[in-house]
Structure formats: structure tokens, C-alpha cells
Symmetry: C2
Subunit: 316 residues, 2 copies
């Protein structure tokens, strides 16, 4: 993040002091029972001109819904901001992806704005998603030493898919799909929220997002690399050794949910997660102030890069 | 509007079928008691690189709040999408204008997104404003033949200010301020909404916006040019003859409120508008299907250009 951006976000924080803003340090704003989030993506920054436009539309909706999932919120409506450059062919395909995701996740698109940009300007696409929170809307703060860390979803698929695409833009398959068409875990989020001391979605990499959670909660975490949930496709592509697991823990674009739950909570008894949800414990919250990693072979040094910091210079 | 844009908006309408979207033909979406609006502005399209950045920030907030005013809604919160290019100096000044408007209109900024764009890309700035509607949330449809058309606010100042700036980028004064720092008529909108058969804000020019209102309502309108509210500053700059009044009726950027009220309603008795609000009747709704203009000298032909169509290729 450049100095200009840091300055800007500092200045934003200085006046966005309403409690609903949660210090601009959470996945979403919480105003009464409303949960509000906005993500903007730009061509050349968050997606590439040769990415299939329908997948860009899908992803714009999905990443916003993942923020609602992290609050346990039910989606109510969305407003979209779209730019149009040139003949609009790309945008029509983009829109089909937006429509498919809105349909899949029952998100009514109720308004927004469409503006024409000069030819050659990068496309800038934004979505505001509005949801209704349940009885408890967890934040990133609130995890307590002794809590167990649970993960809904899997790690590494999207990052492995992106690596395949970087090697060959025509790559296909489940890993590429995971990168292009993430699935927000809305139902799991709604089930977990009332029990979660802290919860967030994993968008920039487990370790980077976990670092934010423990910083907000004022504690540390100890993670069992061997417990990270990997898919068969991921293991087929990258293996399941320590390097592969560190790759999965720092890859980003997972849109899994990370929740800190009380140690005596047995989710198998207490929670009724959708049957297809992959769900397991990956570690514990500690009284320390950083992340410790270990696997069957012993302690594992924390990698230098915890995730994709530059992907999200965003305040919310 | 290009074919690409028209196609795109047509495709948007095809799937934004939720009643809250109001056919993407209103100033805002209405979802339960929530009123939702989003406007995006781009450098080189809606503002110029040498416009004072603080005024761009003010205007972004004000135009969204004017959409809430047209629904009689009380502002609850906003989310902002901002791009950052280069060193962020422009953006810091922009943000000071956003903060000033949020402060002036008691609008908490609670979230959003900030993304870095490559150097040289046009800035794209968006705001989602969320408000709470009252017992009645008027739309553009609903005006009935016989209704009187009332206008809160004045016309022409902003267009006259823009003309001054085009002649001399260093121009100053009340008209330039009206262009740069419009004031959304939130209190007037809240007072008028329960009585309005139809209401909207005048952003693209009275005649163009009125044409939208009567199209949505399925009726016509007859406007007394002599009744248009002009400020002393406007008259000092452009006069008060027919040409000046047609300029004021097609200028745009007024952010006045246009309301169709029952003919037997006497706003002086029934309504309690803020004392500073300039408010008067400018015509009537007719059983026809177009706009008729007249002044003391007789009928006035409708000008070819009714307002700034290209300013707002937006669905909401």
C-alpha cells in the first residue's frame, strides 16, 4: 500500500467515527440489524482484461456476499456501480455473471449507476450488498484465549487455480473455477454467527486474515498446518506437504469462514451446518500476540508473506 | 447514450425485477422502509481534473442525498468507493469535501472500499446512501391530472455558474457555489413526501426530469415559465426574460424538488416547510401526454434540448 493510500485511509478513519463503521476495520458496517458492505474491483488491478467477463461479474457479487456471510447476515439487496467502455460487449457478458450470482444467492439487484468512461480507461465495478444480521453479528474482535479456531470451507484451491492460469491462460478445471467463481458460505455464516466470539471471511490468505483477527481481539493463535482442509484437487496439483500447506495458508481468494468458538462448544452437537460444508478445527486462540504454526514434525517458522496484502487496500 | 449503454441498461432491467428496484426508473430503490441510492462520478465525465477536489467530494455526497430527499427519506448511512491515483494529494482534498458534506447533513460514513488505480486512469468515485423512508415514499409515477406542480428550491443557478466557469475557470460567487456545492433539500422532502402524488429531484433540468415524471405517471403537464423561481443572482447574470427562463428550465444540477400535489392542498396551511425554503407552484398536471409551456406572452414552443441527458446514463 502506498503512502498516499495509507494517508487516505487514516483520514477516512478520522471522520468515520460512527459506531456502525466499526473503525473501518471489519468486513462490513453494522447499523441496527443491517449489515452493509461495498467492494470495488478495477481492471488491471483485481482482474485482467482477458479474464472471462462473466466470471468477473460472478466474483464481484460473491466477494461482497462473503462479507455478509462473515457477519452471519441474510442478503437483502444489492446496488451495482458499473462503467461502460466502448461497445458494451464485455459489459453484457459481465452482467450475465452478475445475474447468475444474484440468482444463485437470491440477491435482488435493486439499483445502482452506470456511467460511460472514455475508451481505454480501466473498468471500475462496484457492488454494495445489504443484509440483515441475526441476533448476534460477530466482529473480528472478541476471540478469547482458549477458543478453538474453526474453518468452514477449504484453503488453497483459488490460489492454485490462479497459478495454473498464470502458467496457461487457457487452464481449466475445478481449481480454476474456485478462483473464478468463489462460493460465499452464507448458510454456514448464519449458523456460526450466534456462537462465534469472532468471525471473518478468508479473502487475502488465512495467515494474513488471522493476523487481523488476533490483532483486533488482542490475543495470539496457534495453528496446526496438518489440520488445514485441502481438497483432493489441490493435493493432486500441489501435494500435501508443508510447502503446499503454507501455500494454501497464504494463498488468498478462499472465501472460507474463520470462527473462534468457545472450547466447550461441540459444533457436531450444537450446530446444524449445511451437510456439504467442510468444517473443522485448525487451531486455538492463545494469550500471546502472534501466530505460531506447527505440524507433525514440530514448530514451523511463520512465512515472510502472510497473504495478498496489496489486493485489499480497503477500509471495510 | 451509446447503443452499448442502452443495451446494458436494458439487460439490467431484465433481471432487476424485484419490486424494490422500481424498474430501475426511479431516483432510488425502496426496500421496506429503506431507501437506497448509488451514484458514481468519473473524472473527465462528471467533473474535470481542475475542479476543486473538495467540491467534487461535497457534490458526490449531495447528489446522493438529493435522491433520498426526493423520497422524503432521512439519511442513515453511506458507503464510499474511492480510487487513488498517484500521491493521494487530490484524494485527501476530495475527502475533506466528503467529510464536510457528511457533517453538514449528518450522514455517517460507515464503510466502503478504496482501491489504487494505475497512474493516469480517470478517478471513479461512488457513494451509496441509505435512508429511512416515512409513512409514504413517493415515486415518479402517481401524478394525476389536475394536480398542481410545486417546486422547492430554485432553478438555473448551477447552470449559470457552470457557464461562468466555462468562460473563466477562476470564476467565483454564488452561482459558481450553487454548481459546486448543491444543497439537498432533505427537510423539504420529508415534509412534502406524505402529500406528494409523485416527487423527484431536478438533477438534469426541470423539463427533462418533468418529462420522466409525466411519462412514469401517464399524463401531461402545463408549465408557467413566469412562475419558475429564479434567484436575484441568476437574474443579475442572465436576466429574467423567456430565454433566461428556458435556460433555467433546462440547465440541470439544480437539486430542487418537484412534487405533484392535490389541487385542493394549500401547502401554506397544510405543510410546515423549513422557513428558508423557496417554494411555489409552477404549473399543473394535465390529461395529455407531453409538456406545454406558456408565459405572459402566450404559448412557448418546447425547446429541442430538455436537459442534460448525457449526464446520467444511470439506472437509478
Amino acid at each position: 500500500m502506498s503512502l498516499g493510500e495509507l494517508d487516505f485511509i487514516e483520514a477516512l478513519r478520522a471522520f468515520a467515527t460512527h459506531p456502525a463503521a466499526r473503525g473501518l476495520a471489519d468486513d462490513a458496517a453494522v447499523l441496527g440489524d443491517l449489515v452493509l458492505t461495498h467492494d470495488t474491483i478495477a481492471e488491471g488491478v483485481h482482474f485482467l482484461p482477458d479474464d472471462p467477463p462473466a466470471s468477473v461479474g460472478w466474483k464481484l457479487v460473491a466477494v461482497n456476499l462473503s462479507d455478509l456471510a462473515a457477519k452471519g447476515a441474510e442478503p437483502l439487496a444489492a446496488l451495482m456501480s458499473a462503467t461502460i467502455c466502448g461497445d458494451g460487449v464485455w459489459e453484457r457478458a459481465f452482467l450475465s455473471g452478475v445475474a447468475a450470482a444474484c440468482e444463485a444467492f437470491r440477491l435482488p439487484l435493486v439499483g445502482g449507476d452506470t456511467i460511460a468512461l472514455p475508451f481505454g480507461a480501466p473498468r471500475v465495478l462496484g457492488l454494495t450488498a445489504i443484509g440483515r444480521g441475526g441476533s448476534v453479528v460477530p466482529s473480528r474482535a472478541g476471540a478469547r484465549p482458549g477458543d478453538r479456531l474453526w474453518l468452514a470451507g477449504t484453503l488453497g484451491d483459488a490460489a492454485a487455480g490462479l497459478a495454473l492460469l498464470k502458467a496457461d491462460a487457457r487452464a481449466e478445471g475445478m481449481l480454476v473455477e474456485a478462483y473464478r467463481r468463489p462460493l460465499p458460505l452464507l448458510a454456514a455464516g448464519q449458523v456460526l454467527a450466534p456462537f462465534a466470539h469472532a468471525m471473518m471471511d478468508i479473502s487475502d490468505g488465512l495467515l494474513l486474515d488471522l493476523a487481523r483477527l488476533i490483532k483486533a481481539s488482542g490475543c495470539g493463535a496457534r495453528i496446526d498446518l496438518d489440520a488445514l482442509p485441502l481438497t483432493r484437487e489441490f493435493v493432486g496439483e500441489r501435494g500435501s506437504g508443508r510447502a503446499a500447506r503454507l501455500f494454501a495458508a497464504t494463498g488468498g481468494d478462499d472465501y472460507a469462514l474463520l470462527a473462534a468458538l468457545a472450547p466447550d462448544l461441540d459444533p457436531g452437537l450444537s450446530l446444524c451446518l449445511p451437510s456439504a460444508t467442510i468444517f473443522g478445527t485448525i487451531g486455538t486462540i492463545t494469550a500471546g500476540d502472534g501466530i505460531e504454526l506447527f505440524d507433525a514434525a514440530g514448530d514451523v517458522p511463520l512465512p515472510e508473506r502472510l497473504g495478498y496484502e496489496h489486493h485489499r487496500p480497503n477500509p471495510s
